[in-house]
């Protein structure tokens, strides 16, 4: 067969469909090597099929490549599957027995103590209210300052979503590219365990390069959990990991708490 006969036969259309046997695929591959016209014909067929299949794609979906990169990063931090150890079956009779006696005991105790402490409690609550009011007044000024920051037109808001190690966690970055600073809201992170500290990372996705923005040392002490950090980087994403006190050179990916792309 000459090359035009091959083209006319319809075998190239089936080649693009992947509907041929391995042997036939090899034959076509050989034809491509020998005749550039065959390759051109295949490219034309491929173009037609690719336009046709693309026309069926759902509209108005977020198809940016960023989503793929984020999934790849997440896959990397995903630990290999662990089979959970079976919990020993509890003897419910023993447990309910214990529960009942604890309940009765504590109710009695509560009634005795209750009267004595009621007065103390009232005084204490009053004290607490006063303190709270005082705090509210001073934080009002602070909140107003934060609000102006958040409302600034130059601010980009980036939500950071909880990752495998802590799906419930969340955080938010308010990034002012002009002043090269970020406000980091980490109210949605659990208190770090002792000896550990959260570390903030600016990420470039392609290729994945993390740059440390520092550790959040005052996490426990800070009431509103909003931190102002310098960020001179051209960040594509932000992430927060839990690291040993003092921070790490590079992020510990299996301790990635939150992640979000710009």
């Amino acid at each position: 067969m000459d090359k035009n006969e091959h083209i006319q036969s319809g075998i190239l259309e089936l080649y693009v469909a992947g509907a041929l046997s391995d042997k036939e695929n090899e034959q076509v591959y050989q034809l491509i090597q020998d005749h550039p016209e065959i390759l051109n014909e295949i490219k034309e067929i491929e173009k037609t099929i690719s336009v046709l299949t693309a026309s069926v794609a759902p509209k108005e979906t977020d198809t940016s490549f960023k989503n793929i990169l984020i999934k790849l990063v997440q896959d990397r931090e995903r630990p290999s599957k662990v089979i959970p150890i079976q919990k020993p079956k509890n003897n419910w009779v023993t447990y309910t027995g214990w529960a009942a006696s604890i309940l009765i005991g504590s109710t009695l105790l509560f009634n005795i103590i209750n009267n004595n402490t009621l007065n103390d409690q009232l005084a204490e609550e009053k004290q607490q209210f006063e303190e709270q009011l005082d705090k509210a007044n001073s934080s009002l000024a602070e909140n107003e300052k934060l609000l102006t920051v958040i409302r600034d037109k130059d601010i980009v808001t980036i939500p950071l979503a909880g990752q495998n190690v802590s799906p419930e966690s969340y955080a938010k970055v308010y990034w002012n590219k002009n002043s090269k600073t970020i406000y980091l809201d980490v109210k949605g992170l659990p208190d770090p365990p002792e000896g550990k500290v959260y570390q903030v990372w600016s990420l470039k996705l392609n290729p994945l390069t993390p740059t440390s923005l520092g550790t959040i040392d005052g996490f426990l002490a800070d009431a509103n959990k909003i931190f102002n950090i310098d960020n001179p980087n051209d960040s594509q994403a932000f992430g927060i990991t839990l690291e040993p006190a003092g921070g790490s050179e590079s992020p510990t990916m299996d301790q990635l708490y939150t992640l979000g792309a710009v």
Binding site: L14, T48, S50, T53, A54, T63, F65
Partner: protein, 175 residues
């Protein structure tokens, strides 16, 4: 960069090449998947999985076995079919098997009035029913020549020639 070069770079785990190939084929992959699962969110999820799978298995692709396009579309079909077989899959459309890609073109939102979309809809509408069915089986469902011949009860050779004629009509119209 030429496609061949992109594919080589992709096999060498070059993210830029991966991105270019993604931009080229993302819509086709997602179209094939959507035609099988018929659910927008699910189609998006499976599409992402397919590209990640392709990236992770890039070294298994060989130009000797076929086109890159053919390879990735094949991964897409298999992933979508797997999804419809998983126990979590809710079969919203009662006769999923009777649906063909043409239905999607016909029901695509009128919001999308780009000339391209209208054009393709018209062109495909003009194809004979036998052509629509054949294209569905070969390109959207991944039937082999033999399977298509059995399904449509036509001789093996007819699959080849008829399919070429159908695509030629489309090619002329799309030009």
């Amino acid at each position: 960069m030429q496609l061949e070069e992109l594919v080589v770079q992709f096999k060498n785990k070059n993210v830029k090449a991966f991105e270019s190939l993604y931009e080229m084929y993302n819509d086709s992959v997602s179209g094939v998947i959507f035609n099988i699962v018929r659910d927008k969110e699910l189609a998006q999820e499976v599409t992402q999985d397919v590209f990640i799978k392709a990236w992770n298995n890039a070294d298994t692709y060989s130009a000797k076995k076929g086109r890159f396009f053919t390879w990735i579309i094949n991964i897409a079909r298999n992933a979508a079919i797997d999804k419809t077989r998983s126990k979590n899959f809710k079969n919203n459309s009662k006769n999923l098997d009777a649906n063909i890609f043409v239905d999607i073109l016909e029901t695509h939102d009128s919001l999308d009035n780009s000339t391209d979309a209208i054009g393709i809809k018209n062109f495909v509408g003009k194809l004979k029913d036998t052509c629509k069915k054949l294209i569905e089986l070969l390109y959207f469902k991944g039937f082999t020549q033999k399977e298509a011949s059995e399904n449509l009860e036509i001789p093996l050779g007819t699959v080849k020639t008829r399919n070429r004629n159908c695509l030629n009509e489309l090619r002329v119209m799309l030009k």
